[in-house]
């Protein structure tokens, strides 16, 4: 009730829908692919697929990882990564099935940083904060470092009034960090609440798969939730639900389209339209 109505007018506005927004910010990096499309079975030509944002002609969206998402969304040369030097350690002396420290070291040797990377960029010329999950790093799990990067980013985006774009892909909280990983749900949502309170637009892009502690914290609280076609999105995975309840799950259960029907997702957007759509939303929400 105490919120003032803030009238703002864009004079002579150029509708973004009438302006060309390129499909990717820069050329996507190569990613590891199966030899055939799991949906239509067609043999894949990696370089061709790369040119079409890793979407098969049949519509199957291949999983992309952190660096590919940054290349897709950030304009060329605009990406400024933050807090990349903050890194995880084994604190619980976790040993099973293999030592956590070994898991971390291995992932880092493969050139991966953490399950979440975050920084600033421009998206079709519009300044944004960008957070991307990387499913290759321990299943994109939310860790202390991931939570810290996200929370700091939300705080800075709130302070600088910069819209935040998140891309999720995660199995949930990182078990190897115990209850402190669980606490990251509260930590990131506390900071996210401040982003919302500062009236900064927040767009959440849900990709395959988004589950557990990530869907139960920051992933579904966007001003707009966008999802990739066919992405699996839920809290408990289908396998566990079947084990726990002996239920038959309908086809398409927990798909992006299911979540659209269940009222959790605003838009199911093909990857090749994502930048244009985000650019339009950025204009509308900062109008």
């Amino acid at each position: 009730m105490s919120l003032p109505f803030r009238g703002r007018v864009r004079e002579g506005v150029l509708l973004v829908s009438m302006v060309h927004v390129p499909v990717t910010g820069t050329k996507l990096p190569p990613i590891a692919l199966s030899t055939n499309c799991p949906s239509c079975g067609v043999g894949l030509v990696p370089e061709e697929l790369r040119e079409q944002a890793y979407v098969c002609d049949c519509g199957h969206h291949f999983r992309m990882h952190g660096d590919a998402w940054i290349a897709l969304l950030a304009d060329e040369g605009s990406w400024r990564e933050r807090w990349a030097d903050v890194r995880p350690h084994d604190l619980l002396d976790w040993k099973v099935p293999k030592p956590y420290q070994q898991t971390i070291d291995q992932a880092r040797q493969e050139g991966l940083n953490e399950a979440v990377r975050t920084g600033t960029a421009t998206l079709a010329g519009r300044p944004v904060w960008l957070g991307v999950f990387d499913f290759r790093f321990v299943g994109g799990t939310l860790s202390i470092v991931a939570g810290e990067r996200l929370a700091r980013g939300f705080e800075q985006a709130a302070a600088s009034h910069t819209p935040y774009v998140l891309v999720t892909a995660s199995g949930g909280a990182r078990m190897q960090e115990g209850v402190l990983a669980l606490m990251q749900l509260a930590k990131v949502n506390a900071a996210l609440g401040r982003l919302h309170a500062a009236r900064v637009p927040y767009f959440s892009v849900l990709t395959d798969p988004t589950f557990g502690g990530v869907s139960a914290s920051l992933a579904l609280l966007g001003d707009v939730n966008l999802a990739e076609p066919g992405a699996a999105i839920g809290f408990t995975g289908a396998r566990v639900i079947k084990q726990a309840t002996y239920a038959d799950l309908p086809p398409g259960f927990q798909s992006a389209e299911f979540q659209l029907e269940c009222g959790q997702v605003d838009l199911v957007v093909p990857r090749v339209e994502l930048r244009e759509r985000l650019a339009r939303l950025l204009d509308l929400y900062t109008g």
């Binding site: 009730m1 919120l3 003032p4 109505f5 803030r6 009238g7 703002r8 007018v9 864009r10 004079e11 002579g12 506005v13 509708l15 973004v16 829908s17 919302h196 009236r199 637009p201 579904l220 001003d223 707009v224 939730n225 659209l260 029907e261 269940c262 009222g263 959790q264 997702v265 605003d266 838009l267 759509r277 339009r280 939303l281 204009d283 509308l284 929400y285 109008g287």
Partner: protein, 303 residues
């Protein structure tokens, strides 16, 4: 009963657009009802897409459903991001089924409020287009709290501190319509209707025979002129000769101009004043009645 009962009794106090007197005297009430329900009549999206070509539809109540009977989203209108709501009936049979003939379930009202809270957060004005036979009279709607959803919406609109203008563009059916029509200004297209009950429902209640809908329509006083005379709407927007479906573009321009004319002064109004006016608009909406010498609520000093 003569359609100009109210104007005779109380005198017109709001605006009636520049209607051709010819037509308004020749259409029967039932003809108006049929025009309001005409299958070719422009629906909400026809207006919204003309008003805001960059319109983005948003979906879902963030609880458990999306309601296709209500379109909700954002677009740029007069250089300003605006939230649009509109009942949507559907053109093809398949779309009609999907959109449930514009009859909302509870999740539609919850979706609207969710997006209205974004309007508040970001300072967007709201335009709401009303075109529904009523809220859906079905078991699922009852199970998911249709009454409470409408009630909560009606109450929350009074606490939504951004300008809201609404227009009945076709059918304004009972509580299902009112749930989307608590606004600072409410307009009606000339051949739209707004009623406490549909003619069929009224006939069913009165005679237990909903075939007597034409008689019931005559009794209900549901035309735009009746509503204007009662002081329930601020303005009637004239339609092209023959009805809105004859000229989409012309009707859309007329509606858009009227909506903008009413919204504009609200944009600079202090929020407290805006909400106080909205309160008084509905709190004393029967004031024309109260002014009737032999009637109603007498003003009394506070205890």
């Amino acid at each position: 009963m003569p359609a100009n009962f109210w104007s005779r009794t109380l005198g017109l106090s709001w605006e009636f657009g520049t209607m051709r007197p010819r037509e308004r005297d020749t259409l029967s009430v039932w003809q108006v009802v049929e025009l309001a329900r005409h299958p070719d009549r422009p629906y909400s999206l026809d207006y919204i897409k003309r008003m805001a070509p960059d319109f983005v539809e948003l979906h879902g109540d963030r609880i458990s459903h999306d309601d296709p009977a209500l379109v909700a989203g954002l677009g740029t209108w007069h250089g300003r991001t605006t939230v649009f709501f509109g009942h949507q009936k559907g053109r093809t049979l398949a779309e009609r089924v999907r959109r449930n003939w514009g009859m909302m379930h509870p999740e539609g009202y919850r979706k609207a409020l969710r997006i209205a809270r974004q309007a508040v957060k970001f300072g967007f004005p709201i335009v709401s287009l009303v075109d529904t036979p009523g809220a859906f009279p079905g078991a699922a709607a009852e199970e998911r709290g249709i009454a409470a959803a409408i009630a909560g919406a009606i109450m929350e609109w009074f606490e939504t501190p951004v300008p809201i203008v609404a227009a009945v563009i076709g059918e304004g059916g009972s509580g299902g319509a009112l749930g989307m029509a608590v606004a600072d200004r409410v307009l009606m297209l000339e051949n739209s209707t707004y009623s406490v009950a549909s003619p069929e429902a009224a006939a069913s209640i009165v005679w237990r025979d909903n075939a007597r809908k034409v008689e019931a329509a005559d009794q209900l006083q549901l035309t735009s002129r009746d509503l204007l005379a009662m002081g329930v709407v601020e303005e009637v927007v004239p339609e092209p000769e023959g009805g809105a479906h004859v000229d989409y573009e012309g009707t859309a321009v007329a509606l858009e101009n009227a909506l903008w004319r009413h919204l504009q002064p609200l944009l600079t109004m202090p929020v407290d004043e805006l909400l106080q006016h909205r309160y008084e608009r509905f709190r004393y909406i029967d004031s024309l009645i109260a002014a009737h010498p032999d009637f109603g609520p007498k003003v009394e000093p506070k205890v």
